[in-house]
Each structure stands twice: as structure tokens, then as C-alpha cells.
Assembly symmetry: C2
Amino acid sequence: MVQKTYVTYNEVHKLCQASAEKILNEFQPNLMIAIGGGGYVPARILRSFLKRPGNPNIPIQAIGLSLYEQLPVASNTGPTTPAIEKDVEQMGTRVTRTQWLDLSSLSMSNLVGKNVLIVDEVDDTRTTLEYAVKELTKDVDEAAAKMGMPAGETKFGVFVLHNKNKEKKGKIPGNMVSEGRYMAAEEVGDVWICYPWEATDIDEHDRLAAEQKK
Amino acid sequence: MVQKTYVTYNEVHKLCQASAEKILNEFQPNLMIAIGGGGYVPARILRSFLKRPGNPNIPIQAIGLSLYEQLPVASNTGPTTPAIEKDVEQMGTRVTRTQWLDLSSLSMSNLVGKNVLIVDEVDDTRTTLEYAVKELTKDVDEAAAKMGMPAGETKFGVFVLHNKNKEKKGKIPGNMVSEGRYMAAEEVGDVWICYPWEATDIDEHDRLAAEQKK
């Protein structure tokens, strides 16, 4: 049975607060891109902590991505591996855009050469993050080419509340990690994280979170 | 001095929960439009409570609106009214889009004839809400015309955590109110609402909120 971990709102708030200094000092984002719905809450909280006196808020663009875990396709190969492993192996994943950057309000050229922080709540299989980083990089490189600028001038970073230490299906660029642009407020095992915004009884949720602390 | 009201995360959560039943029974939204950044948190929480077993999540589109309160313009008229009143009277407001619907992922035609719930944290001067309702209505009516359908088939609703009972600069359609499509989880006076996502010290914020309750 997968272990459940309960995270309270105030813990989410403090995870954002604790990461903000590192994000400000080491990454200095010009723009946040919140992956909805999970990235909405951390992105909004982070905005408060990234605000520097005398400077405007760091703008947030929201994108919507849905991850569909497809059913395994029927196979003609014999049962040489246990069915369950086969299923996992053959299980495809597909990311669908429900919202993308609005290019009537935001010119892609505004992103060229900037530091863009992609925000989500959890890095589970990394599939969604791979998609976001790849597609945004592609769009920005295209915009750069149109401006006669080289590709790769835009620095993408990632912030998640929790990174699950497990084998990842998705990949992010190696230099994103080596250059400290991948930032997880907390590293966790392959647990079931119960976020407060999913709680049907928030008092009970907090009680379970407190019990877990003991 | 303006009175400060402290709202905790769990209170925000419960305000969404308490409103969800009314929203589901009386409005039945097909789509939420979250006005960022303030609408992000309530929209995400609301999504959990609007989910019905066996049905998919109600999708959220995020839009970004910034409200600029312009400085009063210089006037040649004599000081027949106190300066302070004059200032308020002459103060203009301007709403700027930082993000709008992404028409590459979402066809406006998908909104025609649907129930669309606009979500924000607070209805203060109503200027932002007026802008959102007007502009979304305009876009949807245009889409309907292209489809050969009459205007006004899409029902817009509004959900805010707090409505401040004060004179409003912005107007929303009268039938939105009369038909119960304007929903505020809580009616408050013209107070300064401190939302938890703006707190630099969330424990102190909660302490002040608890003290206020006494």
C-alpha cells in the first residue's frame, strides 16, 4: 500500500518561502509559468516572496497540461515477462494542452534571453515537466530565430514543491540540473502526497498531517 | 485607519467548500475562468469541490488582469468640492490584460451556450470584474455570430471569496445578480483583507486571524 503524506496549506506556504531566497539569488526569474491546476497555488504564493521592494511583481502566465496515462496496447509477443511489467513498459503517456501561452498579450520575443521559472506542485513521473520544458524551449528558440538571435538564450528553471525520488519517464536537460535551475522545495520518496486543496475535510486533513509529524 | 481582516488558508478553503453546493445546483459551470493571480487559489480549491464522481474535472482557464489606478488629472475648475472628493471622482481606472484565453487550445466556440464561472478573490471596486465580464461576453458573442447563433446564449457567473459592500466603480449586468449568477462566499465591509498567500509570516498571520475571532 502506498503511504499517504498529508501536506497542510501552511507547509506549502513555508516551502515556497524557504525556496524563494535561493530562487531569487541563483535564478532571478523574469517570468513564472504556472502549470495548472497544481502549479496555481505555489506560483501565487511564490510571487509574494519573489517581490522585491520597489520592483513590480514577477508576472505569472498559466498554462494547462493534462497527463493521460494510456492503457497498454495489446501485444502479440509471448508472456516472457510478467504481465504487470509489460504493462508498465508499454504504457504510453500523452500530454494534452488545455491552455498555452496567450500570444496576443505576451509576445514570445519577450521571453527571449529571459529567465523563465516553470512552477508545478509535484514532479512525479516528470512527463509533464519534460513536455513543458521542451515545448516552451521550442517556441522560444523559434522566436529567437525570427529575431536573428541564437537559440538557447532563454534560461528555463523549474520549481516544484515536491520531487518524488523514483525512476522518471520524462527527462529534463542535464544542464538544468547541473546549473541548479531545477529546484524542489522537498525531496520525498514515492509516496502519495495529499495536497490541502484536494481535501474534502481540511480539519481532518490537518489532524492527519499533525499525527504524521509525531 | 482601514481595518485589517486576516483570512487563513483553511478559511479560504471552507469558503469555497460552502459555496460549491450552490454553484453546482444553481449554476452548473462547464468552465472556470480564474483571474490571476488572486483567482488562482480559490479556482483550484473550487475545482476539487465541483468535481462530481464519474465526471471529469471542470477545466480552468486562467486570465491575467492588472488594474492601474491612475492619478487624478489636473483640473481648472475651482475648489467647489473638497479636494479629496474631486480626486476620487476624477481618478480613472485602466485594466490591462497580461494573459487572455488561449485560442489555440480553446476554441471560443466551445464557450458558446455554456456556463462560464469567472473566479477572483475579491470584488473591491468591481472594475476588474466589469472588464472580464464585458470582454468575455464580447468575444463569445462574436464567436456565436460566426456560428450563426444568437448572442447571449452563454451564461456568465461570478464567484469571489469576498464582496466588499461599498460603492462600485464597475458594473455587472443586472440579470447576473437577479438570476443568482453573482456569488460571493462572504459579504464584508470596506476593510483591508489580508489573504494568506500575501503573508510574510504565516504563523503570525494565523495568530492575528484567531485573535480577531475573539
